[in-house]
């Protein structure tokens, strides 16, 4: 760390590093300069990985994979006029997964030496053999060719770790100053940055080196009416993305206006944080006096930053094959979209609903060259013209649905956790006919336009859900009329997607991101993007969430 990184903060009354830990950030606290130091060379990593693979085979494994991972994180946290915390972390170690006696075993170590890795490999085989005694069915892996020595690098333009901390602090405190100038009571702003340097090797003959980047700028502004005691917040309309610092360099071409009268601006591949906070400051004050919604049936017009989360919960999760098969029954749940359900060809949605899984889309959170079990990533259809055609699966699940390939969606949050099936990017395809958001709204007689994601909840089989939002506008006779508050909608997944009447065209398409999607026991976090264009859903049940307490 260089002094200049902090010089200049003092005058801004910035705070110090009094928050000891970061949510979801593993590893040890390091000097930010450490984040720019190169990791081990691939020649060394190959030698280390081979030590693990050979030890596993010698101990009786029929298959083994080794993941050498260096996970780098940085978080900058501010509120109002002060910095709350700046922390840079590094986590480095090795995870080894084996099959012995037809059963999985896993062990990890931060002793990144040939001896340390070999020892972990032997432990993984021991665990596999111990568990095989209570194993009913042997693991069956879809065939996977070895790729030899290959690499993949996220096509970022600027590594966020290269940007001086001072610049990041200046940006966030500038955002806070703007909000405070515009009269909000409180603001918290945060910038998360992630770099996963992952090396994967397996007994199939793959040696894969990858460099993955993610960034997530966000804020929350709060307005308080002291006299009435009422308070309201508005979160940022940014998305976490699989990009570098270029995401924070706004371009006019990436801005998408919401419907006329809505005062909403959406963002594609770059984000204007100062512009968004100015909108948020204005809207959060309007929220204090906005009309409370009358409950009933409305046609909903959902912007992509909102719809992304609905896609995530009601399509992304139910089509995870491990849920469908019951592996998540004790915590995350199972799925309504069973294999029997699929076989009956029951419509998941209307003809307008085309949903694809894609781990190759540039700039998304799910984009990698290869997954964490060495499978090249791909794009495939999940729902075609409303019909469920496929699931999300990994190597040991493909045979259950009669397939001979994995979809490449195996992921582990770190070297010390075992990899398992996670959601790929799951996106609603834009409509093929030209349709703007204004044209879409024009056809709505009684509706609500919802931007941003708010409270969200769905049952353990993904039938019944309830979603809120950040900003709501009434639509009457084809026009946005006024802001609404206390809005949440409840629906059944199948009914909801069958009520999809129209999807705007590609010019409106953009990504929402889930930065910390939790699943598994112990729980692991994963990041995933969901693309869509503004869409219309007819006759959805809207409830009023206002209550009175003592």
């Amino acid at each position: 760390m260089k002094r200049r990184d902090f010089v200049g903060l003092t005058g801004l009354a910035a705070g110090a590093l009094f928050l000891p830990s970061l949510p979801g950030f593993g590893g040890t606290l390091v000097d930010p300069a450490r984040l720019l130091e190169p990791g081990a060379d691939t020649t060394i990593k190959k030698r280390l990985a081979d030590a693990g693979l050979n030890a596993a085979k010698a101990a009786g494994a029929s298959y083994a994979d080794v993941r050498i991972g260096r996970y780098l994180n940085q978080g900058v946290f501010t509120r109002e006029k002060q910095v709350q915390n700046i922390a840079s972390t590094e986590s480095y170690g090795v995870g080894i997964r084996v099959i012995a006696n037809g059963t999985w075993g896993f062990a990890s170590t931060n002793n990144v030496s040939e001896a340390g890795i070999a020892k972990a490999a032997q432990l993984a085989v021991q665990i596999a053999k111990a568990n095989s005694k209570v194993q009913k069915e042997k693991v069956q892996l879809a065939p996977q060719k070895g790729y030899g020595e290959v690499s993949w690098k996220a096509p970022i333009q600027q590594n966020a770790f290269e940007v001086p901390i001072k610049d990041k602090v200046d940006l966030l405190l500038g955002v806070n100053a703007k909000a405070l100038d515009l009269g909000v009571s409180f603001i918290n702003s945060v910038l998360f940055q992630v770099n996963e340097q992952k090396y994967f090797a397996s007994t199939d003959g793959s040696y894969i080196d990858q460099d993955v980047h993610r960034i997530y700028p966000t804020f929350s502004v709060t307005a308080i009416d002291r006299a009435s005691g009422k308070f309201r917040s508005r979160q940022a309309l940014s998305s976490p993305v699989g990009m570098g610092y270029e995401y924070l360099m706004p371009k006019a071409a990436d801005k998408v206006a919401g419907p006329t009268g809505s005062d909403i601006i959406g963002y594609k591949y770059s984000y204007d944080m100062l512009e968004d906070v100015a909108s948020a400051a204005k809207q959060v004050k309007q929220k204090l006096t906005a009309k409370s919604v009358t409950p009933g049936k409305y046609d909903l017009v959902l912007d992509p930053h909102h719809l992304g989360l609905t896609i995530h919960e009601s399509v992304g999760h139910p089509l995870e094959l491990d849920r469908v098969l019951g592996y998540e029954a004790n915590f995350a749940g199972t799925s309504f979209a069973t294999l029997e359900w699929k076989a009956k060809n029951i419509p998941y949605g209307s003809k307008a609903v085309n949903i694809v899984a894609d781990k190759t889309q540039v700039g998304t959170l799910g984009a990698v060259g290869y997954d964490d079990e060495g499978v090249k990533t791909r794009r495939w259809d999940l729902i075609k013209e409303g019909r469920l055609v496929d699931y999300e699966k990994i190597r040991d699940q493909a045979h259950v649905v009669g397939q001979d390939h994995s979809d490449g969606c195996c992921y582990s949050q770190s070297w010390q956790d075992v990899q398992f099936q996670r959601m790929p990017n799951v996106s609603l395809q834009p409509g093929t006919a030209k349709l703007s958001v204004d044209e879409l709204v024009k056809g709505v007689d009684k509706g609500i336009y919802i931007a941003g994601n708010g409270s969200f909840s769905i049952d353990q089989q993904r039938y019944n859900f309830q979603f809120g939002g950040q900003v709501f506008y009434a639509i009457e006779k084809g026009k946005i009329t006024e802001m609404l508050e206390d809005v949440a909608y409840q629906a059944n997944t199948q009914e909801f997607w069958n009520s999809c009447a129209a999807v705007c065209d590609e010019s409106d398409y953009r990504f929402f991101g889930a930065f910390n999607d939790g699943k598994g026991q112990p729980s692991q976090s994963s990041a995933v993007s969901h693309g869509s264009s503004t869409s219309r859903f007819n006759g959805v049940n809207v409830i009023n969430t206002a209550r009175k307490i003592g």
Binding site: A16, L17, F18, L29, S455, Q490, T545, I549
Partner: protein, 441 residues
């Protein structure tokens, strides 16, 4: 060396502090040794173990602070860690929220260490018992067993010395019928693993699974409910009681953005917000759910009442906010105890003319922080009660309810049970608001 004794830990920390040249320095050690096993479809899916110790050093020069961590403890690494914390502190800006480190403190000694722990073999055996029981009845079990020992030690240049070791084991199991038409759940956490009976818990979940088949739909609306402890508190997600109690921060309330904010300014401490039968406190010395002896700042925990006879008695004051408010700081507890009566859930059912028994609530999210309105769904065993007996299973329901409103609609409070490190009684509540039906099983 995941678990250091008090002497080992303090000797190491003393050494760390001896390297410090800062105005103030605090060093903390944390370690855990644990193991887990996860199973589903009556077969083991993953198993793992964890052994870790880490050191955090906070160095302060005036109001500037720096933190560095390491997980190796040779002299060179320790010296580098202290040096790095000092470098960061020199570069950091002054904190407007600076509070001096605590001096020597006196701590209670919570009864929290078990003499024996589960091993990989005993964990596998517990999982096997659970799976065998289910397989024999053509049921499918999915469960997770996780347990171990942890320690935390602190020492600082002002003379503070703290050490605590604790053990815990958590087990949960979901049992489903082979046709997927019934599902039941049971959960327990214990300090002493000898008290964990995975087989009996699996039997309870299996009974619920079998009796929840052929669930009938009822109209959503306001119902009398009996919420079992697992429907009130969860260790792995937001819960009706946990969300409310751990959200009782004084700062947010004083700032005007909490359900405890007062119209016109200030907070609602001293106001009666709940039914007079509601008393919630924390007590690190509770025999069944012992707590931490100190919080992250080293503040001693003690028996502290948050809600007494329906009145808000205290809020959480961080050291900074306490100084600003000229009030004592409150150590943040890791659990709470809700006072209850003597009735079991079965006895509460017996005294119910019409109502709904809820085993578990799921995917609870805050809808409105102003009123603490939460939404979520019932799961894994929801039954209709009539004339004191369970009549039939019912389909799951979504609720929209605030714990503030719920704790004003108390009909009866049962006998508290340990859950997620807390003591939580089953509650009988009138007019609990369900807003829609779910087809999920």
């Amino acid at each position: 060396m995941a678990i250091l004794s008090k002497d080992e830990a303090q000797t190491l920390l003393k050494k760390v502090l001896s390297y410090s040249t800062a105005d103030e320095c605090e060093a903390s050690l944390r370690g855990r040794t644990s193991g887990n096993i996860r199973y589903a479809r009556n077969s083991v899916s993953t198993a793992g173990s964890q052994n870790s110790v880490s050191l955090a050093v906070e160095s302060r020069f005036g109001k500037r602070s720096g933190i560095a961590t390491c997980n190796e403890f040779d002299e060179t690494t320790l010296r580098r860690c202290v040096q790095r914390a000092e470098e960061i502190a020199h570069l950091a800006p002054e904190s407007p929220e600076y509070v001096a480190l605590l001096g020597p403190q006196t701590y209670l000694s919570p009864p929290s260490t078990a003499t024996t722990l589960l091993t990989a073999i005993t964990r596998a055996q517990a999982a096997a018992d659970s799976m065998t029981l289910c397989a024999a009845k053509n049921l499918t079990a999915a469960g997770f067993l996780d347990g171990g020992t942890s320690f935390v030690a602190k020492r600082n240049s002002k003379g503070l010395e703290a050490y605590q070791q604790s053990t815990n084991t958590d087990f949960s199991v979901t049992v489903r019928t082979a046709d997927g038409r019934g599902s039941g759940y049971a959960i327990a956490d214990v300090t002493d693993p000898a008290k964990l009976n995975a087989k009996a818990l699996t039997q309870r979940a299996a009974d619920k699974a079998l009796s929840s088949v052929n669930a009938k739909a009822i109209e959503p609306g306001k119902y009398t409910v009996i919420l079992e402890p697992a429907a009130l508190m969860a260790g792995d997600d937001l819960s009706l009681l946990g969300g409310m109690i751990f959200g009782m921060g004084a700062r947010e309330a004083d700032e005007g953005r909490s359900f405890l904010s007062k119209k016109g300014g200030g907070n609602r401490k001293g106001e009666k917000l709940f039914d007079e039968r509601i008393t919630i406190y924390s007590d690190p010395m509770n025999a069944e759910a012992p707590g931490n002896a100190f919080d992250g700042d080293g503040l001693p925990t003690k028996r502290q009442t948050w809600i007494e006879k329906g009145v808000v008695k205290d809020l959480f004051y961080t050291r900074f906010w306490a100084e600003k408010s000229k009030l004592p700081a409150t150590a943040f507890p890791n659990g709470f105890i809700m006072a209850g009566g003597t009735q079991s859930t079965t006895e509460l059912i017996k005294g119910t003319a019409k109502g709904i028994l809820v085993t578990r609530l799921w995917y609870i999210r805050e809808v409105d922080p102003q009123t603490l309105l939460y939404t979520g769904l019932t799961r894994d065993g929801t039954f209709y009660i009539e004339n004191g007996v369970i009549k039939f299973p019912i389909k799951n329901l979504r609720f929209n309810e605030s714990p503030i409103i719920m704790l004003n609609n108390i009909e009866a409070i049962g006998r508290p049970q340990r859950l997620a490190g807390c003591m939580v009684p089953p509650l009988k509540i009138r007019d609990f608001t369900f807003t829609s039906l779910s087809d999920a099983i």
